[in-house]
């Protein structure tokens, strides 16, 4: 069963390889690509089921016991988010088939997509801090390539800026890993967790912790590290925008969650103020940026900045309730923002413009698209009854309970601003008198995926109890790093491989 853990990563890689081998065969690439994505999704389901029923599952690469070898750990958090990622990826893939032009698909689109997914899954599953760096780089470089995929000026520009900023972050990551290794002599997260708890004097660890937070903050696009996001997320091909905003930025939040809940547990007070401050500023910046946009994708991108502010805010408050809200935000934003991007792509395809001023009146011609878009808008704006509301509600509750009245008020106030710009955007696109231009009908494969996500959001709202219950379990597991550590080191006693024989 433990072999299930690396499978999402390996399946993605294998799919990528096969699609490279397939050369320029379009049909073959699409079939393999969708098949691989589907298989990964199914694997992720099994993985989550396994973890749910058996507790954290650990896979030691090469059978080398932790802390020496690299291990992959699937606990509820990681397997849950892997499932989320693979689901959204599958939807985005289907969309891509309709969206990405044939030549692009014949080129490297499919392998790059799956390699991106490989990086994402790896980053979620790995239990080794340096391996995390490697997977970060995988997902980053494939996203640079995908952002620049269609080769337009602005895409190249966005990709260059995105890559530059993230390269600096990578250097900082190495600095942090080097520092951590210099002090602790190990790279395994569970081992680090054990050892840091034994320390009486934290020494330079606060520095390192903050460095990690900053590095992950770049991925999570916290202020002042977010500058790449509005450019990259708005310029990328639409399904990639959906993946970047839906899943990729969550990797940063996830990593902060990981290092703070597993490794640096005793040092949390040292960074909490920073995190809260930056999260608050991020929320404001996201709102400011979104208010200024007339380009629908750029607006959605800025909205992602703001949402990341909420996610990080919950993380910073750090109470169980706040963490549940953060998780709920992650799920909500992953589904809703991905859906909004996909639908924005439909609208752009139909009207031939990204400028909302040039759209209008689409509700008459595309009522279902309008409805789905509205669901997304409501979800992001946290309009009840969709579960985006509950994320917001829990966050505010948690902030109040933890005594952060100001932050609660800020979150509430900015929620209104979010509501404003999203509804205004929706109005601009779907209401008003149409400009009378003939609409270009987007392929069905582009519309379907958005509806699927909208459906998932609605169904998820109806069955919110199991979702929240699951997230509470996730949170409870996170709160007990001992579980994680035990699961990792139990691995040693369970395994018996050739290395045992040679000793």
């Amino acid at each position: 069963m433990n072999a299930l853990v690396p499978l999402p990563i390996l399946l993605s890689l294998a799919t990528a390889i096969v699609t490279i081998f397939l050369g320029r065969s379009l049909r073959g690439k699409i079939v393999v690509s969708l098949g691989g994505g589907g298989a990964t999704f199914v694997t992720a389901l099994f993985l989550l089921w396994t973890v749910w029923s058996r507790g954290p599952v650990v896979h030691a690469m090469g059978s080398w016991p932790p802390p020496f070898g690299i291990i992959l750990v699937a606990d509820l958090l990681s397997s849950g988010i892997v499932l989320l990622a693979s689901g959204v990826a599958m939807v985005a893939l289907c969309y891509s088939v309709g969206y990405v032009e044939e030549e692009g698909q014949r080129l490297a689109y499919h392998p790059l997509f799956h390699l991106l997914m490989m990086g994402i899954y790896g980053a979620f599953l790995t239990g080794d801090i340096f391996n995390l760096f490697v997977f970060f780089e995988i997902l980053l470089i494939s996203s640079y390539a995908l952002v620049a995929f269609a080769g337009e000026d602005y895409q190249l520009e966005a990709s260059l800026k995105y890559a530059t900023i993230n390269l600096i972050a990578s250097a900082a990551f190495l600095l942090a890993v080097g520092g951590l290794y210099g002090v602790m002599g190990t790279l395994n997260m569970a081992d680090l967790s054990l050892k840091i708890r034994q320390l009486h004097d934290a020494g330079p660890l606060p520095t390192i912790f903050l460095l990690f937070v900053a590095v992950f903050g770049v991925k999570a696009s916290i202020f002042p590290f977010y500058f790449w996001l509005p450019d990259a997320h708005s310029s990328a091909p639409t399904p990639i925008s959906a993946m970047l905003s839906g899943i990729l930025i969550k990797v940063g939040a996830y990593s902060i969650l990981r290092v703070s809940s597993v490794i640096f547990v005793p040092l949390w007070p040292d960074v909490q103020t920073w995190i809260l401050t930056l999260a608050a500023i991020t929320m404001v910046i996201g709102a400011c940026g979104a208010l200024a946009q007339s380009d629908v994708k750029r607006l959605l991108a800025y909205s992602s900045v703001g949402q990341m502010g909420y996610i990080i805010l919950g993380l910073g408050i750090g109470t169980p309730l706040a963490l549940v809200s953060t998780l709920l935000f992650i799920v909500n934003h992953a589904l809703a923002k991905a859906m909004l991007f996909l639908m924005a792509g439909v609208v752009i395809e139909a009207t031939g413009t990204r400028d909302m001023g040039g759209m209008g009146g689409l509700a008459r011609q595309m009522p279902w698209t309008a409805g789905a878009f509205l669901v997304g808008v409501m979800a992001i704006a946290g309009v009840p009854p969709l579960f985006g509301f509950f994320a917001k509600f829990l966050l505010i509750t948690a902030a109040i309970e933890a005594g952060y009245g100001f932050l609660a008020a800020l979150a509430a106030g900015l929620a209104i601003v979010t509501l404003w710009y999203l509804f205004a955007a929706w109005q601009q696109i779907f209401w008003r008198e149409g400009n009378g231009h003939a609409l270009h009908a987007p392929p069905r494969l582009m519309k379907g995926p958005g509806f699927v996500l909208a459906g998932v959001i609605v169904v998820g709202t109806v069955f919110l109890n199991p979702v929240v219950n699951f997230l509470r379990n996730v949170e409870a597991q996170m709160r007990q790093p001992a579980n994680y550590v035990t699961a990792v080191f139990e691995e040693v006693s369970h395994r018996s491989g050739p290395s045992e024989e040679s000793k």
């Binding site: 470089i141 190249l156 260059l160 800026k161 890559a163 190495l174 890993v177």
Partner: protein, 111 residues
């Protein structure tokens, strides 16, 4: 050794930073390369300098330096090579399409 190396690495980061803050995109990429040199050296420095022979097991097996940072750096070097290669080509394409490598002029995306 640590102090002098720290100074060296600091200089690599500083010069890299200075270059990254220039207008010419090529300088930016060169700056990034310097920074990644620095970062690689950080990793190799992290293990400290105990030991005085390369980690290649031979007779009289003591005094090896810490092999792990070396392996990590190897990975890091390769990765930064890959990324640099990509960026160089990206820059090339950008120049082809926009006719400039001036980062102050490559600012269609703003606001």
């Amino acid at each position: 050794m640590t102090t002098l190396l720290a100074m060296t690495i600091g200089t690599l980061f500083a010069t890299g930073t200075f270059l990254v803050l220039r207008r010419n995109a090529l300088k930016v990429i060169i700056g990034l390369s310097l920074i990644s040199h620095g970062a690689n050296l950080v990793l190799v420095t992290s293990g400290g300098f105990a030991g005085n022979r390369p980690p290649i097991i031979g007779p009289g097996g003591v005094g090896y330096v810490d092999p792990l940072p070396q392996a990590l750096v190897l990975t890091a070097i390769v990765i930064s090579f890959g990324v640099t290669a990509f960026m160089v080509v990206l820059l090339y394409r950008l120049y082809q399409r926009t006719g400039t490598v001036d980062m102050d002029q490559i600012r269609r995306l703003r606001g």
